[in-house]
Point group: C2
Chain length 335, copies 2
């Protein structure tokens, strides 16, 4: 917690006593590394992979837009397909935010639970909460024959990518919930082992979006969604589908009044925030283009190291590690 406003802090740095100059110059802050990352290290997000939720305007009439990036293959695609159908059917228009539980989640959908669902929604099995390393490899390599995989890894072995990935994993260190966890192909992913038979799954970090469900064996359709607004509730990993993340406007959800009923549900209908519309990004006129910092890039490796070892001016002691949810994948609007 930098105590003072930025201008004053800069003034303090300028006025530092002579002795302070003996120390090495402070390293770049993670935000400065991101700002300096070359264009080639950014990946464009297709508008068709965005879900744009417009809430009713706030008390002062200001618009409240929440932009969600949907998870790419091979993760959670059964539910993501349902979400595309629900948006196409305008299912969420006129529904509401029904639950805000402090340090946990904000949840939205049809509070009446009576609205008809569009036809053709998939019933996704629980096994799809995780995916095999074999399936991950197929998507990553862009092929699945032994020759293709061998060729991919042989090339990678000599590439900078491998070095970047190892540096990122090294920044993370221990994890109470998985053998290993790291950003992978743009998303926080955990692994129960490291071999070809291992399973991987997306992680419930701040801002991640998941699918509400009833008791097992129900897995939810995707009609009821939530986002994390507190410390990563990773006990939900592998118990519930993760389908995306909020990349802009989470403050419109995280700053809503907390519900006072059990689990943070609102007591009365009037406490609920109305949802005007939810659309896939390519249906939204004038939507900016978004990019995320490629998690296999040199800039990301440098950023991860800086998140794990803060050496910028404010810090006196680098932590030596950062958990996967403390290395959020940077997203920006393209200017």
């Amino acid at each position: 917690m930098q105590k003072t406003f930025t201008a004053l802090t800069l003034a303090l740095i300028a006025a530092a006593p002579i002795g302070a100059q003996d120390k090495p110059a402070p390293a770049l802050a993670p935000s400065e590394i991101v700002a300096a990352a070359p264009k080639a290290d950014w990946t464009t997000i297709a508008p068709s992979d965005l879900l744009v939720m417009d809430l009713a305007p706030d008390a002062e009439g200001k618009p409240r837009r929440v932009v969600i990036q949907l998870m790419p293959p091979p993760f959670s695609q059964g539910w993501v397909g349902n979400i595309r159908k629900l948006a196409a059917a305008r299912f969420w228009d006129g529904t509401s935010v029904n639950r805000v539980q402090d340090n946990y989640v904000v949840q939205w959908g049809d509070a009446t639970e009576k609205k008809a669902l569009p036809a053709g929604l998939a019933k996704v099995p629980e096994s799809a909460y995780t995916i095999s390393h074999a399936d991950m490899t197929k998507v990553w390599v862009g092929g699945s024959s032994e020759a293709e995989i061998r060729d991919f890894f042989a090339k990678r072995e000599k590439s900078k990518v491998r070095e970047n990935i190892l540096a990122i994993r090294n920044a993370i260190g221990g994890d109470s919930y998985a053998l290993q966890s790291a950003p992978f192909m743009g998303w926080p992913v955990a692994h129960d082992n490291l071999d070809f038979e291992a399973r991987a799954w997306p992680v419930h970090c701040y801002g991640m979006v998941g699918v509400g469900r009833n008791l097992s064996p129900d897995t939810g359709t995707g009609a009821e969604l939530y986002t994390v607004i507190g410390h990563a509730p990773r006990h939900l990993d592998r118990n519930i589908a993760v389908v995306g993340r909020v990349i802009e406007g989470i403050e419109h959800l995280s700053s809503l009044p907390r519900g006072t009923e059990a689990l943070g549900f609102y007591r009365t209908a009037k406490e609920r925030t109305k949802i005007r519309s939810v659309r896939i990004g390519n249906e939204v006129a004038g939507l900016p283009t978004y990019e995320f910092l490629s998690t296999e890039s040199g800039s990301f490796a440098q950023y991860a190291d800086a998140r794990a070892n803060r050496r910028d001016a404010f810090f006196i002691r680098p932590a030596g590690g950062a958990d996967v949810c403390n290395i959020p994948v940077p997203v920006r609007r393209v200017k």
Copy 2:
């Protein structure tokens, strides 16, 4: 994210198909373990260890009280002493909440940075961000002679307490930021090693309260405070003093509108939430008595295991671990 309201979920359990009865009965949820904990497993918090902050009422005229428990010895006592002096001097009355940064912190104090501080505030050294295991042992044992320590551990060896502590540590597993971390004497504490020479420090979990400061070697007086409202920013550990935690009313801070300036500072004075008064608990008429679940108790060990391995009805796959900030110390009002 339980999809439905509690009543409906219970109805679903009652209506479960016959096949579902083959499964073992669901285990207790962490909240049920806490509700069932015997009186002996709770520790009363002295009113003199509470800091009560009354914000101006909200838009509907409802009171907004935030109750903070101050850290006990041997942690951060230089700053805690300053905070007591600041409260006695009514320093915060009429100041404001000046910064709300999403997924990070809410910060309050004198926005003008010109208000006079009371006389006699300690200037606490950076070395006090951590404490030695030797000092921790003194407080824990209630003595520091070799005989006293030997006697304490000999008794503990045969006691249930040791078993509870080992069970709690076992529930936590890996940590990216420390060799080990666990709730200890009621607080989340991390350790850089396990021997008598090791250092320990309080952890920046959700709701923990810390001391704003300027650049090193400044360590802050305690006049500028913040609380964590997002994923545990543990890179701040050992870089800044942790002095307490919000035990009630954090929603009055975490749901405030986010500031739009750098670091979440508010752009205009009128966006700031006014602080009416901040008092030590024994100056506040009618304050309830609060207790925390003793972190060396059998109930806490059972609770920690249940946080790490959810086996209650909603869960299909226990995580196998929980990080220290996902095992928050339960606090309750005494009825």
